[in-house]
């Protein structure tokens, strides 16, 4: 079996090497990694990009903890989120879409089926070959980014290496649809369009689920925080046996108002959020994989990112958006805190359950593809 597996993987490697898109993706991944992490530096006053002026920021001075956060944000929120999970993934889907249809095409499949090897194993090995594509291209980009970051800033973000298995797993889930479409249609075009369409549906379900659940979690946070304000004021006035001061009265009234609004939001969005969350469980959770990567790379939450960037403006005392008095007001701070709570709640993923159900969902697709393949005449 190992000899056959080795032969199929070697063949996949030769196939990939012959593909223009594979080489293009590797080059783009490398360029993106270098461009994102080798074109700026940190000094005693802040961050400097290429030869431009230094952006003064006390949190981004060389040696500050903010530097690590900044680099992790750049990796996760820019490189991984936009390139690895979207750009490179689309290229991978297009490049690998023909692997199974070509293998199953007339004149080619007979050569493989007439070997002492079960059809199930054949399909599994071929699919593994396609995974090799994504694993390789992701590994090149991620390892390069890891090395550039480590060598240039002396920050060794080992957490970002999780991107390789996680992105490959994401592809594994998407490729399961491609495999199913391949054994049904034997058409590369159907595989590309079908997989992208299904990915879009997955994205819509997960995006809707995230938005609705953020709304609900944020409302719950506001309710919790506002209730704490109410409880605190009532406790103080109760202990001191007096009426609330005008200031306390204002806080109480504002907190009660916020609780009412939060409860309305929970009532309005709660059922939909639960519905989408349940629906998402039955599907591969590609979004969760990005969240898991953010956790592994210890990427700060939105609030921390805001603090990181606003610190520079506060330092300079300019009129930028982070110094807008309205943005820095009480309401804004409450919203930021609530969003941070929501983000933390949503990032608190049960990793084995999330990945397990994703893998199970993909395996069901592969299983269906295998049943059809095993029973099909060629």
């Amino acid at each position: 079996m190992m000899m056959q597996l080795g032969a199929v993987l070697l063949d996949s490697l030769r196939l990939l090497r012959s593909r223009y898109l594979f080489r293009l993706t590797i080059i783009l991944s490398s360029l993106a990694a270098v461009a994102l992490f080798a074109t700026y530096s940190f000094n005693d006053t802040g961050i400097r990009i290429l030869w431009f002026d230094t952006w003064e920021n006390p949190m981004l001075r060389s040696g500050q903890p903010g530097v690590r956060d900044f680099v992790a944000i750049m990796f996760n929120n820019i490189y991984a989120r936009f390139w690895l999970t979207w750009g490179a993934m689309i290229l991978a889907i297009v490049s690998t879409a023909s692997i199974l249809p070509d293998f199953l095409s007339g004149g080619s499949i007979e050569l493989s089926l007439a070997r002492p090897m079960s059809r199930l194993r054949m399909l599994a090995f071929r699919s593994l070959g396609a995974l090799l594509f994504v694993a390789l291209q992701t590994a090149v980009g991620v390892v390069l980014a890891y090395l550039v970051i480590g060598l240039k800033f002396d920050i060794w973000l080992s957490g970002i290496l999780w991107a390789v298995p996680l992105i490959t797993l994401q592809f594994f889930c998407l490729f399961s649809y491609s495999a199913l479409l391949a054994v049904i249609t034997r058409s590369t075009l159907a595989c590309v369009i079908g997989t992208l369409l299904l990915w879009f549906v997955l994205f819509l379900v997960q995006f809707s689920s995230t938005q609705l659940n953020t709304q609900v979690e944020s409302a719950r946070s506001i309710e919790r925080r506002s209730q704490a304000v109410v409880d605190r004021v009532e406790r103080i006035t109760g202990e001191q046996d007096r009426s609330p001061t005008p200031g306390e009265q204002r806080s109480l009234s504002r907190a009660k108002d916020q609780i009412a609004r939060a409860q309305t939001d929970i009532k309005r969005f709660g059922p939909y959020a639960a519905l989408f969350k349940r629906s998402a469980w039955m599907l591969p959770k590609t979004g969760d994989m990005q969240t898991i990567l953010a956790n592994k790379a210890q990427v700060p939450t939105g609030g921390a990112i805001f603090s990181l960037f606003s610190a520079g403006q506060a330092e300079r005392g300019g009129d930028g958006p982070f110094n807008d008095p309205e943005m820095r007001g009480e309401d804004f701070a409450d919203r930021m805190a609530a969003n941070d709570d929501a983000e933390r709640a949503l990032r608190d993923i049960n990793v084995p359950l999330s990945l397990g159900t994703s893998i199970l969902s993909a395996l069901m697709m592969y299983g269906l593809a295998a049943v059809i393949f095993a029973r099909r005449d060629f």
């Binding site: 000899m3 056959q4 080795g6 032969a7 199929v8 070697l10 063949d11 030769r14 196939l15 090497r17 012959s18 070509d102 095409s105 007339g106 004149g107 080619s108 499949i109 007979e110 050569l111 493989s112 089926l113 007439a114 070997r115 002492p116 090897m117 079960s118 029973r375 005449d377 060629f378």
Partner: protein
């Protein structure tokens, strides 16, 4: 798919049972011969031994019966040819043997193990029709890849790959990618690929398709060499002349059924005859071109009818009229006997047996392969002053057999190509 392990008794019964050839035509004489044709496939030494192979495609409402109970025996160490018109089911049968297609029903063995057994495939080489190797691989990579899939150890692959490429005549192209290959070269590579696992049985589906005459000769020689090394070769081809040159045994498949099966000698045995061409008298040496005979009498040219009369006169005392005579006297095995031939001429041989004879304007056909039978006739013809221009032993060709198999006996036309629909008889 059902494999079968036979008990001794079952095997004996099977071995004792001759393969009966289904009748396509209504030519009584030919039918009788085909029914009598029994190809003995005794012995356990069969590379392929399948029975009742059936395959039905399509839906239940519109089933297409591609194979309708095929029985096939291929002796080890022989070259076997499977022929038939387009859509007869040849490739379907081969694909079933190679597990590419799942049969509706199939009993039997290949290389002694049940058909469909995956491990057996390691001992079988296969060249599919219209095969397509990955364009990004070189010739040696193709052999290495498929060799590994057939579980050939790496060291053996390394040694065997250049040998095989050299053997099929593309040794110089080992490191060239397949996309640069011509059709003929791809076919040669396909042959090499079919042998990469040093198989005991090689199934070749249209191996000379797209190959030039020189290449075909090379492939023929190559197949002979394989047979001499004890390999069994199963050929699926349209090229009847090539099959005739190559094959020890053949089977003709028509509309999903085996029409006839056996050695070429067996299949053509009943078509064997002598043709005695009679021409101008040697003493005159004039006229008589194109088969026109002349009388021995000087200056008097004869018509064909006159020659025929002279022949009949010369052989008259040796011939009688009998029922069934004329059967087998057709030009080829594929032709039916002419109307009225049921009451034809018979020659009484020296051993007393009756041999059908047919006399035409220019020749005499004698249904025997025994040269002693025709000697008295030759003497009689010469004695009557007729010139014996040629004496030829004749037998039907594979093409004749093939044409007979694909001829609709009721209409005399060619049977419709393609698989048998369920509603067909």
């Amino acid at each position: 798919m059902e494999g079968e392990t036979e008990s001794g008794t079952e095997r004996e019964v099977r071995e004792a049972e001759a393969v009966r050839v289904p009748v396509q035509g209504n030519d009584l004489a030919m039918s009788a011969r085909r029914n009598d044709l029994a190809i003995d496939v005794r012995g356990n030494d069969l590379a392929i031994d399948v029975r009742g192979v059936t395959k039905t495609f399509g839906s239940r409402r519109k089933p297409v019966r591609a194979l309708r109970g095929i029985d096939l025996q291929v002796p080890r160490g022989s070259i076997f040819g499977l022929l038939g018109p387009n859509g007869a089911g040849k490739s379907t049968l081969v694909k079933i043997l190679m597990t590419v297609i799942r049969p509706t029903a199939c009993r039997g063995t290949m290389l002694g193990r049940a058909v469909g057994n995956r491990a057996t495939l390691a001992r079988i080489g296969y060249l599919p029709e219209h095969h397509r190797f990955p364009d990004y691989l070189t010739a040696e990579q193709v052999l290495d890849h498929f060799g590994a899939l057939s579980l050939v150890p790496r060291s053996v692959r390394r040694k065997r790959t250049p040998e095989l490429l050299e053997l099929v005549g593309i040794g110089d192209w080992a490191k060239v990618k397949v996309k640069g290959f011509s059709k003929g070269m791809r076919q040669r590579l396909g042959l090499a690929n079919a042998l990469v696992n040093d198989p005991d049985l090689v199934l070749l589906d249209e191996p000379t398709d797209g190959v030039d005459p020189v290449g075909r000769r090379d492939i023929r020689n190559f197949l002979f060499e394989l047979r001499s090394r004890g390999k069994t070769i199963f050929l699926n081809s349209h090229l009847l002349s090539e099959l005739e040159m190559l094959c020890d045994t053949v089977a003709i498949l028509v509309q999903g059924s085996v029409s006839s099966q056996g050695t070429i000698d067996d299949l053509t045995r009943y078509s064997r005859r002598y043709e005695i061409e009679v021409g101008a008298a040697a003493s005159i040496g004039i006229g008589g071109g194109g088969g026109t005979a002349v009388l021995a009498t000087p200056g008097l040219a004869t018509s064909g009818l006159a020659t025929r009369a002279m022949i009949e006169s010369a052989l008259g005392s040796m011939l009688s009229t009998g029922v069934g005579a004329g059967a087998g006297m057709a030009e080829g095995a594929g032709d039916s006997a002419p109307p009225g031939s049921a009451m034809g001429l018979m020659l009484t041989a020296t051993d007393g047996s009756l041999v059908p004879v047919k006399i035409s304007d220019r020749d005499v056909q004698v249904a025997t392969n025994d040269p002693s039978v025709i000697q008295p006739m030759l003497d009689a013809l010469r004695g009557r002053g007729l010139l014996i221009r040629a004496v030829r032993p004749v037998r039907a060709t594979l093409e004749d057999l093939f044409m007979l198999a694909v001829t609709d006996p009721t209409t005399g036309g060619t049977l419709r190509p393609g698989a048998a629909m369920e509603n067909r008889p």
